[in-house]
């Protein structure tokens, strides 16, 4: 999908050399249409043999029973699953009627860390990046005090749910009762939302969406904000787009937590094998090939995508790359999103609730209660399914 689909063609000659009898045909999908196309392909019975899948889509395709469990194959092929970052691998484990199963192998990873201006932070009297929420807020206040109205502490684009989601993950579960009810009105999420919205209310973060900031890199270079919560692709973008004289003035750091280094989101893409494929063995060989640390290193060199296996990080291109180190350390502290097909929707709705609190059209209490009510209504079918399964089990 997207850029990866173009690049994978460059990895294939090595695979072809090893398995000349297997012919690989790559079909490219744009990310924007991929989700709909996959579901339609499932309904029409025309899924491919294997596929790259955003790891938040795994619950959906597992609910459809479209994926092949990979535990046995990974064991036989000698793929060391403990070489993968645990939080990332966990996003590929789904509970089934027969216990937890692995339904995908992580291909590349995505998480959120801090990007920040080292010079502005130093001028404000902080030589080290913040580790806890309190230190972070202190640093932002100092930056704001020094710079005045044209300086903000942090840019958290209002249309991006990921920063708030990371803060919420630091506070505990977001769903209750086997992921059949929302837990947004619980103290954990309310603390995260309270912290997030206080940054706006205190004037430390501008209440803007990404569309209203014409160019994030220009504004970062100009010093409109000192911190920015973003993902791995911005390492490359910062190098390309920041002016030369600013290249010495930025760095990355793991995300601060409530009391010390915090967890962040476990995103990325996985490789999956479809149950309906008539060529599972051949397809698995390709997955195994793409999961080798050496292939992952070549893939990183071609795309900048970060590998999910610790051993792949020993390549000089990664081990010597300073901005990537914050990701390496953050990846040891990532937590999976709730594994239910409805999560993507809840994720968007959560941000809608946060926006209302930021704009003060609702208080935290009202917003979280309303969010829980919405989530409970959305998950009604899951409760019904669970009750049905228990009833069937009891009848036996």
């Amino acid at each position: 999908m997207g850029r990866e689909a173009e690049v994978v063609a460059e990895l294939l000659p090595a695979f072809k050399a090893r398995h000349p009898q297997i012919e690989v045909r790559v079909q490219q999908l744009p990310w924007t249409a991929a989700h709909e196309k996959l579901l339609t392909a499932y309904a029409g019975g025309s899924l491919p043999d294997l596929c790259q899948l955003g790891n938040t889509w795994l619950p959906e395709l597992t609910a459809l029973d479209a994926l092949e469990p990979l535990d046995a194959r990974a064991r036989e092929a000698g793929i060391a699953t403990d070489d993968y970052f645990a939080g990332i691998l966990d996003t590929n484990r789904m509970s089934t009627a027969n216990g937890d199963r692995l339904f995908g192998l992580p291909w590349y990873v995505d998480t959120r860390v801090l990007f920040y201006r080292t010079d502005l932070l130093r001028e404000a009297g902080h030589s080290e990046p913040p580790q806890s929420w309190a230190e972070w807020v202190g640093a932002m206040r100092a930056v704001r005090q020094r710079g005045g109205a044209s300086r903000y502490g942090v840019l958290l684009p209002l249309n991006e749910p990921d920063p708030l989601f990371a803060m919420a993950l630091q506070q505990g579960p977001l769903l209750n009762d086997d992921a059949t009810r929302g837990a947004f009105a619980q103290p954990g999420f309310r603390r995260a939302l309270g912290f997030y919205t206080s940054l706006f209310h205190e004037g430390l973060a501008p209440a803007l969406g990404a569309a209203q900031i014409s160019n994030v890199w220009d504004e970062f270079a100009r010093g409109l904000f000192t911190f920015y919560v973003s993902g791995p692709w911005n390492i490359g973008e910062f190098r390309r787009r920041l002016p030369r004289e600013r290249q010495q003035d930025w760095a990355t750091a793991p995300l601060p937590g409530p009391d010390g280094p915090g967890v962040s989101t476990a995103g990325g893409s996985s490789l999956v094998l479809f149950k309906g494929s008539p060529r599972k063995d051949a397809a698995w060989r390709l997955i195994a090939f793409l999961s080798e640390p050496e292939t992952m290193q070549r893939f990183h060199a071609l795309t900048g995508n970060l590998p999910p296996r610790r051993s792949a990080w020993q390549a000089p291109a990664l081990a010597a790359d300073v901005p990537s180190q914050a990701f390496a350390s953050q990846l040891e502290r990532v937590r999976a999103a709730p594994k239910i097909p409805e999560w993507e929707r809840i994720f968007q709705e959560m941000q809608g609730a946060a926006e209302r609190v930021v704009h003060k059209t609702q208080g935290i209490d009202a917003a979280t209660v309303q969010l829980d009510a919405w989530v409970d209504a959305l998950l009604e079918k899951r409760r019904w399914l669970r009750a049905r399964t228990t009833a069937v089990a009891a009848a036996r």
Binding site: E60, A63, L64, R345, K381
Partner: protein, 295 residues
């Protein structure tokens, strides 16, 4: 007599079968789908499908985004239909004028947007509407108007979509209105001139009444088409910014094919059908009893 009836049915049968298979059956299936909670879980295992009666419709009426989508759609229809038909009528009158030269050329040129692909011209329009490099903002800039974020500002996104849709569609109605205008005998205008009617009177008392049936037909077709706004926001804005270009059909598409709530999405489809039906019926009354007709 009986033989005639049989032959009649036999001749109509192929068409009737096609209508039955490709229209009646899908409509009935859609209607029954809208009474169930067909979703992702039902797609995986049909035994989890539940009959929910009118719950989908009740839930729909309580969904804020549906009302917002309906509001957006009504905005689009209320402004877009008059603008579009006004453009068509204006262009048709110009083309029909006696002094018009190169009439075939202009007719083809003005009709051209209709036969182009929405997606291809939407890409071009996105260039035109680009905040910094777009031709429209550059033109406005040269007369001292600040750049407008056409597709990124929630206040301007819908007007931009209307502008695009009107440009794309006016040629079709123009051809129909032109045909109607050309059917009016020139002698009537001559006698009107003899009676001393100026161009304005000629339009209000001759052209407009004679065009009314065509205008009502064009109006209903445009209205029904504009209520089904989808491709323009899908290609140009994906429903944003701040959901300001989510139309009812776009809402249905998201529910159905993004979240796979097919039961709920079918309910949206029937609700939209109902709305279009009521509005079109209202317009048809216009035709039978044209308002403002001399008593």
């Amino acid at each position: 007599m009986r033989r005639v009836v049989v032959i009649g049915w036999a001749l109509a049968a192929p068409a009737l079968v096609v209508i039955l298979v490709f229209f009646a059956v899908p409509v009935v299936m859609g209607l029954s789908l809208s009474l169930t909670d067909f979703d992702l879980y039902a797609l995986a295992d049909l035994s989890t499908l539940r009959f929910v009666g009118l719950d989908n419709y009740a839930r729909l009426l309580q969904t804020p985004l549906f009302w917002q989508a309906l509001g957006n759609t009504l905005y689009f229809v209320a402004i877009g239909v008059p603008v579009s038909i006004g453009l068509s009528l204006g262009a048709a009158l110009l083309l029909n004028a006696r002094v018009a030269k190169w009439q075939p050329f202009f007719r083809t040129a003005l009709f051209a947007p209709v036969v182009t692909t929405v997606v291809a011209v939407a890409v071009i329009w996105r260039y035109l509407l680009h905040t910094r490099y777009g031709l429209i903002n550059q033109t406005l800039g040269s007369i001292g108007i600040d750049p407008i974020d056409w597709l990124g500002d929630p206040h301007w996104s819908m007007p931009s979509i209307i502008l695009f849709a009107a440009w794309k569609n006016f040629g079709y109605n123009m051809i129909i209105l032109l045909a109607a205008l050309q059917a009016v005998p020139r002698e009537i205008y001559e006698s009107a001139r003899v009676d001393g009617a100026g161009p304005m009177r000629q339009f209000t008392d001759l052209t407009f009444p004679l065009l009314t049936p065509t205008l009502v037909m064009v109006g209903i077709m445009t209205l029904a088409g504009y209520f089904q706004l989808f491709a323009e926001p899908y290609v140009m804005t994906q429903g944003g910014p701040l959901r300001s270009t989510v139309s009812v059909l776009y809402f249905m598409y998201e529910e159905g094919f993004r979240w796979w709530n097919l039961g709920y999405a079918s309910a949206v489809a029937f609700m939209l059908f109902f709305i279009i039906f009521v509005v079109s019926a209202g317009l048809l009354r216009f035709d039978r009893d044209p308002a403002g007709s001399p008593a």
